[in-house]
Symmetry: C2
Subunit: 286 residues, 2 copies
């Protein structure tokens, strides 16, 4: 085995038991036939755990995967989070070991759960304060309503989009879909402010229904900030006054440059950052 | 471990060494970040091996995966094929163990090669003779030229399309893309005969550039049967006089019913079956 790296997980559990190996017949390996959740854990508590489990359960229903006992997943994530101050816990749930060759399923597959705990990444916290630099990806996302919204394991598009740049000063790339809709970043959702209008792309043709996206939509509505899910295009992006990214770990990142164009973080972005700040440091949902 | 099933592989090699386990950090498991080839082996010889390796190498180039030594793969497949009369050998080549969390690659990843040998499946050979029953899938494929043609490990669309039916008399489903183009079956390519015109969908927006598709295109052209790759629609499918499916293992399957409509195997389908028959039983390429 390769020597340990800081990016290696601290713990890997296979169906609840410490393990360093999985079956070469697992359908996630062959077909990306699975789902995952990446859960930020702070102060020993997993953040927005119920929302993560709700999305995982919905994904299982839509893909026809039996998730087994969700309470067991809940307990496992809590236990892993509770052992350290801060961590990232990733839960990968595959349809399980193949019971037949090929794409077909027998309906008797038993899901494989692999749970990883990683150290909270070392990084400068200036993204939230100063904003990040973002580019537009050349690659466009395929549109498939059957997969839209899910955090499934078919992620080659994101891998390829992330390979488009190597400049470490660029934090993220924004992606359009094949029909020209703005969708998201490679690992974040995007919000646009135009005048007093706050909006984020609909997740009906592609993209992931992000947990922090959902939190921001809810907090904005609760605080009386009008917000909507909409069909957005390159023109909406060009005419944006403010732009920000969301992700379960980072919360909100203002975008300070898009393809080199300067966009200083604006008042609506700052207001939303203030609204969600207490939720990020004091997990309400465990 | 579960008890052995007839569908279990006879042999699994991990980077050339017998193994029953892979790393839970493998990027194929997390993101479907890999490619595969499914090679029919007859008479102890892998069929169309050079074509399979050519497609694998092209896929590696397009995804930025270092395939390592292709001659080692060639030798391995030949050795596995040579030990038995008939078999299916699947080579799964992933980008390797993750060296960082997330989609980004470091460029230092070392590909993981997992090679499986399965028994040749027991099935009635009547598909080639009598034709098969086929349905149209409800799900449409997302379009992404960056992935089109490749036999990559992002196969949730095929898994979901295969889940649309359970009737064992239906052998395959035909899929359209999000913009309405006819693409392929879930595990086969499709050819249409209209009058004397033979055509198959272009593989420029989605779909897999199948090995048997390539063989049929070549053999037809060589024998003076006019054939073209084209943009085909539901209307082309409806007005087809003959329809057949291709796949590296099955060769050519005439379609005898499409969504219940009878389409007796026609003369051009039969002529192409005759043309490729010698290639299926006497592998020319090893």
């Amino acid at each position: 085995m390769a020597r340990e790296r800081s990016s290696d997980p601290q713990i890997v559990l296979l169906n609840g038991v410490p393990a360093q190996q999985v079956s070469p017949l697992d359908r996630a390996l062959h077909f990306g036939d699975g789902l995952f959740e990446t859960i930020a854990c702070r102060g020993g508590v997993p953040r927005f755990l119920s929302l993560h489990l709700e999305r995982l359960e919905l994904g299982c229903t839509r893909l026809g995967i039996d998730p087994g006992n969700l309470d067991a997943i809940r307990s496992e994530v809590r236990a892993l989070a509770g052992e350290v101050d801060s961590a990232i816990v990733k839960v990968l749930l595959s349809r399980g070991t193949a019971l037949a060759r090929g794409y077909g399923v027998t309906g008797r597959e038993k899901a494989t759960r692999i749970t990883f705990r990683y150290a909270w990444p070392h990084e400068t916290p200036s993204g939230s304060q100063d904003g990040v630099q973002v580019r537009t990806a050349a690659m466009r996302l395929g549109e498939n309503p059957a997969l839209a919204g899910l955090k499934h394991c078919n992620r080659l598009e994101q891998v390829l989009a992330r390979r488009e740049w190597t400049d470490p000063d660029i934090s993220e790339a924004l992606l359009f879909s094949s029909s020209g809709r703005l969708v998201s970043g490679t690992m974040s959702n995007v919000f646009i402010v135009a005048g007093s209008r706050l909006s984020t792309p609909r997740i009906d043709l592609c993209g992931v229904a992000g947990i922090m996206r959902r939190v921001v939509l809810h907090e904005a509505a609760t605080a009386g900030v009008p917000v909507q899910e909409d069909v957005l295009t390159a023109e909406d992006l060009r005419s944006a006054d403010e732009l920000f990214l969301t992700n379960a770990r980072i919360g909100i990142w203002p975008v300070r440059t898009l393809d080199g164009r300067r966009m200083p973080p604006g008042p609506i972005t700052r207001r939303l950052q203030e609204l969600i700040a207490p939720l990020l440091e004091e997990p309400a949902d465990a």
